[in-house]
């Protein structure tokens, strides 16, 4: 079951930038690409926990601001010779509003 929660407007996020959403599971970074695609991944780099939301966004990837690990926004997988991954979260954009599926976030918290 999904639970779409309105977390804000697309235009609240700068193009090729990110904002975070606080959850009980930790911060989730919401990215907006130059093509107005939106992705949600954990805000913590698998390498040393860098805030991915502060990285440089290029194509569908982000480069971690601490040590330059590159992660894909759609799969959460580290690129190049690096290994590691972050969780990705389903979201969709409806009439300019970003809807995040928060069901999983709650279920895991209860579990």
């Amino acid at each position: 079951m999904t639970c779409w929660t309105d977390i804000g407007a697309l235009n609240d996020i700068p193009e090729r930038g990110a904002r975070v959403v606080k959850t009980h599971m930790g911060c989730i970074a919401i990215f907006r690409t130059i093509d107005d695609e939106v992705f949600a991944i954990d805000d913590s780099c698998p390498h040393k926990g860098g805030p991915l939301s502060e990285g440089i966004v290029h194509g569908k990837s982000v480069t971690c601001p601490l040590h330059n690990m590159v992660l894909r926004l759609d799969t959460g997988l580290a690129q190049g010779s690096d290994t590691g991954a972050v969780n990705t979260y389903p979201l969709r954009v409806e009439a300019g509003r970003i809807m995040l599926d928060t069901q999983g976030l709650r279920r895991e918290r209860v579990a």
Partner: protein
């Protein structure tokens, strides 16, 4: 038995539907056609050629009076439909009501007018119908007429080009960063802008309109939000259309953005169909003609009780502006599970981009050479597996003949007179001759033929010719490219930015043949710096191409908190400033207060959301950002000089303050640290700084090229000068030379190693004119740079970026 059909709207969709109807069901329908415009059906797509003078109205009429008469259509043109009574199945027009068995709504759309102040002035028009077109044509008769077009989409550009072709002085205002952003990517948008500018049209992108200004009730200009006013006699708003649903809504039909229809084009009332721009099908509305024609055919079949179903297809866009050849089809959004094949030929102004997903082509954008567009469009529509022709796909159908897919084969197949290097006009045979005459390396070929010696984008091709001619004995030379997005070096790119006056990132990527569509985390910050350095006051800084420290104006720490360093000019502070710093440390729970190596105070452990507040507090106490994070001037360290020291020879503290006040805010290729020592005892450690000054009795010794980081390096002496004013001028000049010549992230000592001390001494010391020019360029740039980033970012428009988008911990707790 004939049934009564009423059609509301005589546009392109309804015209096409009637054609199908009379063809497939002759004599079965008694048709009445309502139209608000006092004329019948014409090809609205051809209004642009009418405007530009390539066609006349008579030539674009699709259904004339004779046609309607031959089909026995009752035309009620110029009569508005007032109401539809679905219970009684009648349409009520201004001149009485009429019953229907079936009704087709083809009411089209209305142009959207931005409700700017002044939008109701005379001379503010949309671009929608023949009347609007005639208004624009009429303007051209007035000598010196000026027009503003708001909207850089298809329609706006066609309006602009049409008026420009008739001699009107036209300015296009577009709110987005590049033209036609829905159809084109940045690179193609850049080429289009260049082509329109060559036609004399002024194009302003990223421009926000704030107010339409009028005189005596008539438009006289447009004011932008940056205060600029563009005078005009006519203002055309071409910013989009909205489905015209008023009649349907009032009749109680299901309406969203458009009139809801199912796959058979039937609305929520089974006796009413809708087609064209007024409909919404599965959440989509339509503005291009191809799907409208499909809908027209489906609606005709539905009326004849033949099962038919509308399925939207990929559509292609073409701009009807003479000399601007562009094509766009499918989905060309950039994404990592998609791959791009990009072809750029800067000399010929050609750009082609294919977007692949797996083994299928899903999008194509082309500019300059669009001949293969329809073929690519076919591959997209048919979902053709392109794996067999992938290597040569970008070259179009002509190259898909044989099974040969070796890229060298394509070069081998080129005729001897094929041009390889566009800049220097070098053909293949010249290069082959040079190789057969003994040239063995790329450098040899460059020296002997000049091929690839100018812009360098043909280097790959020249190397292929060499590989083909020399076989295994040829090894590709390794020049270290800037990043994997390009084969050019940092220096090549810097040179091209200046020589070709490239003033935007899109321009650089196009003209330098970038292999990716929007760069990477390595080249974007570098390009942002180069453009900022070379075009002060013109290029607009791109925040998203900056590393986090510069974007946040504080240093990011390992735990994601930030450290904040206020500027202390020359290392001097006051009791009041210290109190303000202490108060800020308390208020924002600063974990550590540390004196830095550069004699400044560092507040470590500030949370991101507190940044705007702590900056505002420090600003209020008179302090600005210390730029301790910047690829720019960081600190000028000083000793106490003659003020207190028994050895000090000059006012080193005062000079340090003066230097810091003159040089702060300047972006440089890498960080710049400075120091002023009052005597050779060198308490300020000037000899390990990028620029160091050592005061002596006779004047000032200027040192450059020191470092005390990963690499420890003492300075070298550049020169000795007599006065403080000279120190100021020489320092500004050497920093400007470094700004203009170094590669991004190259510290001053590395640049010094590369160019040699002689070169710097020549430009800054020996040649006085050169020094003065450098210093002048530095000070010119400074007027745009010396703005405290903290003050800017404490404004409301920035503040929200520092707080979370949403806090779900609160919601989940409920």
């Amino acid at each position: 038995m004939t049934r009564n059909l009423i059609v509301i709207g005589a546009g392109m969709a309804s015209g096409r539907m009637l054609e199908h109807l009379f063809e497939t069901q002759p004599g079965e329908w008694n048709v009445t056609l309502f139209n608000a415009e006092p004329r019948g059906n014409y090809n609205r797509l051809m209004l642009s050629p009418v405007l530009s003078g390539d066609k006349t109205y008579a030539e674009i009429v699709t259904h004339d009076d004779d046609w309607y008469a031959a089909q026995s259509v009752t035309c009620r043109f110029g009569e508005k439909v007032q109401r539809i009574d679905r219970e009684r199945r009648v349409v009520i027009g201004e001149r009485g009501e009429l019953a229907y068995d079936r009704l087709v709504m083809a009411t089209g759309s209305n142009p959207f007018m931005i409700p700017l102040p002044g939008h109701d002035l005379q001379g503010v028009i949309p671009y929608r119908d023949l009347d609007d077109t005639e208004r624009m044509m009429g303007l051209a008769k007035k000598p010196g007429a000026k027009a503003v077009v708001i909207g850089g989409g298809l329609l706006g550009l066609e309006a602009a080009a049409g008026m420009a072709a008739r001699g009107v002085d036209v300015t296009v205002i577009h709110v987005m960063g590049h033209l036609m952003e829905r159809q084109l990517d940045e690179a193609a948008g850049y080429l289009l802008k260049k082509a329109l500018e060559a036609k004399g049209i002024t194009v302003l992108t990223s421009a926000n309109s704030s107010e339409i200004i009028g005189t005596d009730g008539h438009v006289s200009g447009l004011r932008l939000d940056d205060g600029r006013v563009i005078a005009c006699d006519l203002l055309v708003m071409a910013v989009g259309i909205r489905p015209n649903v008023a009649l349907a809504k009032e009749a109680g039909l299901a309406v969203g953005r458009g009139i809801h229809v199912d796959d058979a084009m039937i609305t929520s009332d089974p006796n009413i169909l809708a087609i064209g721009e007024c409909v919404e099908h599965q959440g989509a509305v339509f503005g291009l003609v191809a799907p409208l024609y499909d809908q027209a055919r489906v609606a005709a079949d539905t009326l004849g009780d033949t099962p038919a179903s509308f399925a939207p297809k990929e559509v292609a866009t073409k701009l009807k502006v003479t000399g601007c050849d562009l094509f766009s089809a499918g989905d060309f959004a950039d994404a990592d599970d998609r791959e791009d094949i990009i072809f750029r030929d800067p000399a010929r102004g050609i750009y082609k981009r294919l977007v692949l997903e797996g083994q299928r082509l899903i999008g194509a954008v082309m500019y300059g050479d669009t001949g293969d567009g329809p073929w690519f469009h076919g591959l997209i529509k048919d979902r053709t597996d392109i794996s067999d022709m992938r290597d040569t796909l970008i070259f179009g159908p002509a190259f898909q003949g044989g099974a040969q897919a070796d890229p060298l084969a394509a070069v081998a197949a080129l005729p001897a007179d094929a041009e390889i290097c566009g800049c220097n006009g070098i053909c293949k045979s010249r290069i082959v001759d040079a190789i057969q005459g003994g040239a063995r390396t790329l450098t040899d070929v460059r020296e002997q033929t000049k091929a690839s010696a100018s812009c360098g984008t043909c280097t790959g091709l020249v190397e292929q010719v060499m590989a083909m001619t020399l076989g295994d004995s040829f090894e590709v030379e390794t020049v270290k490219p800037m990043c994997s997005c390009t084969s050019l070096t940092h220096m090549d790119v810097r040179r091209l930015i200046k020589s070709r006056e490239l003033k935007s990132m899109a321009a650089v990527m196009q003209e330098c043949g970038w292999k990716t569509s929007c760069g990477c985390a390595s080249c974007r910050p570098a390009l942002n710096y180069y453009l900022l350095c070379d075009w002060p006051g013109e290029y607009r800084d791109d925040d998203q191409s900056r590393f986090v420290n510069e974007r946040m104006h504080s240093n990011i720490q390992k735990d994601g908190t930030y450290s904040v360093v206020p500027r202390m000019w020359g290392g001097i502070t006051t009791a009041d400033e210290l109190r303000a710093i202490a108060d800020a440390a308390d208020k924002y729970q600063v974990q550590t207060v540390k004196v830095t190596g550069g004699q400044r105070i560092d507040l470590l452990g500030v949370k991101k959301q507190d940044l705007p507040d702590i900056w505002a507090d420090l600003n209020a106490a008179g302090m600005v950002s210390g730029q301790a994070y910047a690829k720019g001037l960081r600190t000028v360290k000083t000793c106490v000089g003659t003020d207190h020291c028994r050895f000090g020879t000059q006012d080193s503290t005062g000079l340090g303050i003066r230097l810091e006040k003159a040089l702060w805010g300047a972006w440089t290729p890498a960080k710049v640290k400075m120091a002023v020592s009052g005597c050779p005892r060198n308490c300020a450690e000037s000899t390990c700084k990028d620029v160091g000054v050592i005061c002596v009795d006779s004047g000032y010794i200027l040192h450059i090229g020191g470092a005390a980081g990963l690499h420890i390096q003492g300075t070298v002496i550049m020169c000795t000068v007599k006065t403080e004013d000279e120190v100021m001028e020489y320092c500004a000049a050497v920093i400007q030379l470094y700004r203009e010549e170094a590669a991004y992230l190259e510290r001053m000592y590395k640049w010094l190693d590369n160019v040699g001390l002689d070169h710097i001494v020549e430009r800054v010391v020996t040649d006085g004119d050169s020094r003065k020019a450098l210093a002048e360029r530095f000070h010119f740039a400074q007027q745009f740079m010396q703005q405290d980033p903290w003050a800017e970012r404490t404004k409301a428009s920035y503040r929200e970026l520092y707080s979370p988008l949403a806090d779900l911990t609160m919601e989940a707790a409920e």
